[in-house]
Every structure is written in C-alpha cells, then in structure tokens.
Symmetry: C2
Subunit: 366 residues, 2 copies
C-alpha cells in the first residue's frame, strides 16, 4: 500500500480517541480491503516524558515522509511549568511549521441532531455550515523577531512579530478562492487593516488576487473584531472565512463552540501538493484539545477524531466513498447513542467504546 499514515495520538483523550479510530481503520481493512501502512509516534507531553522534547527529529522525519499524519491532541496540567520550548504545544507547532502546513481548514458545522446543544438559539444555527480557513505557518506564531529581553532598568520586554509577505498571503488566498468556488462562492477575508500594517497588505493582496484568480467568487472584507461579533449574531451569513494565524485561532474556536458540536469537529492542515504523488502534505486533527479533566475515564467523544480521519480519506487519498460511508455512520450513530458532551434528553448516554461501537454498527448496516 502507498497510503503511509503517521499516527500521533499525543496526550490525554488524544490517546483514547485514536485507539477508537483504529477500530474504524480495522473495519475498513476487513470489509473494504482498504489498507494503510501505519506507523505510530509520540508527540506533546508523551514525547517529553519519553525523550525530553515534545517532538523528536525522528518522529518529525517519519511524519514528513508519510503521506498523511493523523493527530490526536496534546497538553496537560503536569506540563504547565515546562519552559516555553518544551511545552507539549511546541511539538504540534513544529510539525505545522516544518511540514509547511499553511492551510488549516476548520469546518464549523451544526449536525442536525445537535441543534439544541448550541448555546445559540436554534434558528440562528440550524443548518450552519461554514468553513474557517486559517493561515497556519506565519504571523504571530512564527515571524521573527520574538523573545523576552531584559532592559537596562531591569524590567523586561516580551515581543512577537505579526508579519505576512505577499507570497504567504497569496498562497492562503488561493486556497480560499478554491474552497469558496467548491462551496457557495463567497469568501470573507478577515483582518484589522484599520490598525495593523500586516492587515493592510493582507487586504491589498486579497483584492489583487481576486481580480486575477477569483472568478466566480464574491470577495468581501471584514475587521476581525466585527467578525467575532457577527459569528455570534448571525453565523449563517458566512460561507468561507480566510484569516491569519492568530485571528484564525480565536475565530475558529468561537465558531466551533457556537455549533454545539465541539466534540464532533475535525480539521485538516494542508501544504503544497507533492508533484510525484499528487498528494498534499497533510495533518488531520480534531478541533478539541486533550481534555485532561476527563482523560483516562473512557468518556471522550471519538467522533471528531473519526471526522478528521474521514477528511484524510477524502483529501489525501481520494476515497470519497469510504469518507461518505463513515460520515453517514457517524450521523446514524448520533440517533442511537451520545457521549456526555453532546447528550440531550431522550438519548442513551455512553462512553468512547459505546460510541465507537455504535458507529461500527452503523457501518455494518450501510
């Protein structure tokens, strides 16, 4: 098989939902003859515990030579006091940067069965299906200079740089126009061009790119603060939102939470397409974190991990049929069982294993 997948469960519930995902992979091997060449590695706190670093060079190399990476979650309170460069998150950030996964796709979808789980009123969110496209390799997360300096008077200065270049904006902008074209044709570019110079350049490049390559897409611009407001006020006004790394971090979490489906939401982080294989550099990851409070208890909702795996089937391996099957099974399973995070009265509550079994049952029946 040429489907080389690097599996990085990480920490906390990341390990539990990844274990559950293995059952889905086994099912596909058994009943659909869909084989993967799997390797597993440590990342985050687990890697720190074993090797004193949140990502070893070896695991990074294995990830880069794989066709796709399936990621769980990282972090935990026991790592809170580690130095900046040793924290679990650094493993994730290093993967994003070294694999040059600049396009982070974060769908915010309300599953019909979960409309009532949103904190927003049902009519504002029912049928919601927006895509947040977050630039993932630049801006405040990586640009230089950054650090903490001690000044002459003994006080300190902590600083980060939010920098974007023309080519960095162009490549994420292109993904935005492509995505919008495949969806409802509307792209909202979000920045603070009234305050930030990086935002001025961002808007300038988006406008030019729209003229050159944006045919069939309606481009609009919105300030990031207004976008945070509008997501709460009337989220259905959006189709695709494209924004920088830091704004994307806040806005995608806000959007994810308002769906009420946080435990259900996947993400894909994509880089350039390999000219030899035709496959993009790619990592797939649930939007939720490592949830230390429920870790190890068998309570975690595995559906975001499954949906991330389904994105992998679709975007990395072109297995649309199996992706459809898995997504349908997830949707069917919701009618039968629910983990605690998405419980609503009248449903039967279960844990990670029960939820996984319900999905596999549904796959059997499809």
């Amino acid at each position: 098989s040429n489907r080389k997948v690097m599996v990085l469960p990480g920490d906390g519930i990341g390990r539990e939902v990844m274990q559950a995902n293995m059952k889905i992979i086994d099912w596909l091997a058994k009943y659909r003859s869909l084989g993967f060449d799997l390797s597993e590695g440590l990342v985050g706190g687990a890697a720190y515990d074993a090797h004193g670093t949140p990502l070893t060079d070896e695991t990074l190399a294995d990830s880069m030579s794989a066709d796709a990476v399936l990621f769980g979650a990282v972090g935990g309170p026991q790592y809170d006091d580690l130095a900046f460069e040793l924290k679990p998150e650094r493993g994730l950030l290093r993967l994003r940067k070294e694999m040059d996964l600049y396009a982070n796709l974060r769908p915010a979808i309300v599953f019909p069965a979960l409309v009532d789980a949103s904190s927003l009123k049902p009519d504002l969110v029912s049928g919601l299906d927006i895509m947040i496209l977050r630039e993932l390799c630049g801006g405040s997360y990586f640009a230089e200079p950054r650090g903490i300096d001690v000044r002459e008077d003994g006080s300190k200065l902590g600083y980060d740089t939010n920098a974007y270049s023309t080519p960095e904006i162009e490549r994420i902008g292109r993904v935005g126009f492509d995505l919008a074209r495949k969806r409802n044709g509307r792209l909202t570019s979000v920045e603070k061009s009234n305050v930030m110079h990086s935002g001025v350049l961002w808007r300038e490049v988006m406008i030019r790119l729209h003229g050159e390559e944006g045919e069939g897409v309606e481009l609009s611009h919105m300030y990031a603060d207004n976008c945070a407001m509008q997501l709460v006020r009337a989220p259905k006004q959006f189709d695709v939102i494209v924004t920088d790394n830091l704004f994307g971090d806040l806005l995608s979490d806000c959007a994810a939470m308002l769906t009420g489906s946080l435990g259900m939401l996947p993400s894909a982080s994509l880089g350039d397409i390999d000219p030899d294989t035709g496959i993009p550099a790619a990592m797939y990851e649930p939007v939720h974190g490592s949830a230390p409070d429920i870790a190890g208890k068998g309570l975690a909702n595995p559906l975001a991990q499954f949906m991330s795996f389904s994105m992998m089937l679709r975007y990395s391996f072109g297995q649309a049929e199996e992706a459809d099957l898995l997504e349908q099974a997830v949707s069917d399973a919701l009618a039968v069982k629910r983990t605690g995070d998405i419980m609503t009265p009248g449903c039967e509550q279960t844990g990670t294993d029960g939820m996984t079994a319900a999905v596999i049952d549904a796959m059997d029946r499809l």
Copy 2:
C-alpha cells in the same frame, strides 16, 4: 465649574446620539444645577473633511486639557480609500495614545428587559454582568517596528509588533485587581502564553503582581482562544477579564454582542490620576460604531451614549447620585419605548428623539 468636558461627536450616528446626550446634560443643568464647561471638536471623518486630518493638534490639546472627553463614533464608507494615517480611526487611536488612556473598561451587561434580544439562550445570559478590561495603549496597536517594506524581489512584507513591557503589564494588572476587588473578586488574565513571548511575560507579571498586590482577588489564567469559546459557552463564569489590546478588541466585541445589548453598552478609557485634580485622564465612548447604514435617519439608539456619559459622571466627577438616576431612567425607559436595534414584540418602536424623550420623562418622574 471645573467640570471641563470635551465633546467629540465624530461621524455617522455619533453626531445624533451626542445631540441627544446634550438634552440629558441640559436637564441636569436645569433640575440638578449640575453644570459642565463644554467644548466641542471634530474627530474622525468630520475632522478629515474640515482639516485633512482625523484629529488636529488643537483638538488633541483641548482634549488633553479637559477633565474628560465624551466621544461618539468615527468612520464611514466614504473614508475607506483614505491612506492608513488619514483614516477616521487614526483620530481615535491618537487620542488614546497621546492621552495615555491605557485602561479600557468594557462592561458586558444584559439588561433584564433585553434578555430575549441575545442570540444566546436566555438562561446563559440572564443576569450577565462581566467586565472586560482591555489594555489600550500598547501591543499590536502601537509597538514598533511596524510598516510595509518592499523586498528585493519586489514582494512586500507587512509587519506589526506585539510588545509589552513589565511596567505596561503592571499598570493594567493593577487596574484589574482593583476592579475585581470592587466586584466579585475574580480576575481572569487572558493571553496566548503557549505561543507568544509577550504572553509569557504577561502571565509572569500577573502572577507576581497577584502575590504582591492581589489580596482578596482570585486570579486565573486562560488562553485567548479558549476565552473566545468560553464566552460563547458559559459567559457567566467570568467576573473581570484582563487582556491585551488586540485580544481585548475581539473578545470585548464578542462579549458585547452576546449580551444582545450592543446599542446599550458604554465604555470608559482611563489613564493615570492627575495628582492636582484627583481626576483620571478619561474618555467615554459607546461600544457601537458609527453605523453608516442608519446614520442621518434619526433611528440610532442613544442609550449607549447616555450610559457612557453616566460612566463619566461616576468615574470622572464622583456624581454617583446623578449616574444612578440616569441609569435608572434608562432602565425605566426601556419598558416604554425601544429603538429598532432592541425591539421586541409588544414594545413600542421609536427613534433617537423618542427614546431620549422617554429617558427624560423617566428622569422627571424619579
């Protein structure tokens, strides 16, 4: 009178709601013998139209020598294509910076009469009363270097710096502990210390300050993306949130919108206390913008402006009694009349004048 107030209506509905506010000021002069020494100036697009700059040195000097500034709103589509330094917002930003108004208080309150106007489910927001304290003179808004450079290959680099120094964090932190002490004793400090060096220093200083001066206040820390989520999930968990300029911009707009009371929310921007007068440098401003879509139609809700003026009475001039009176009148008026933005079935809809008259009626009766 030594209550010198500089009035800056600005653009769009800023002018209409400020005009309405003058009726409140007249009432206080007539029935409470409360006099103000008022001057008026241009800011934003209005200043640009008259003088080619969004804030003249003269208006800035007048604002700095006043005891307090009452601000309306700035901006409008006709100024969209102006150069960065000429845009209406620059007038506002220059006032904040030159007057060193580093502490921006943004209450997010749900008025009982408006619970149903929120996009969140009523039980999540009824009784909501949180305070977002935003640092207003540093970070990505002002720190250097910033700009757009043309590189050797002809492409551009747009960059901004998010820098915070120990004293900058200390002075806003102190305001945070003070506010929390006067409220429910809980302060949540929000940053991205898992990613940004400015955030690492921010957290470090907040922890030290808590040990030194935070008695009676419970301090917790939250990442900004998680805060955006938690505001949507369960906003009542917060008391005071303290955060930097850029995060504060997004989070306060998000919080304001979820109250359903956007047209009602005031803000205060405070600087250091003048040792001669005992009065802080101060500017009071509604949270809403200039609303070009409804400007000039007499439809604007003046209540956020009135509430801002009420904050001025309280914080700058110690007129708690009059502030209470005005706030009670606003609350009473809501039972009688509503502008379009806060209409709910069963209420009588009105415009700026009608809403103002309802407040003045209520003051007459109190």
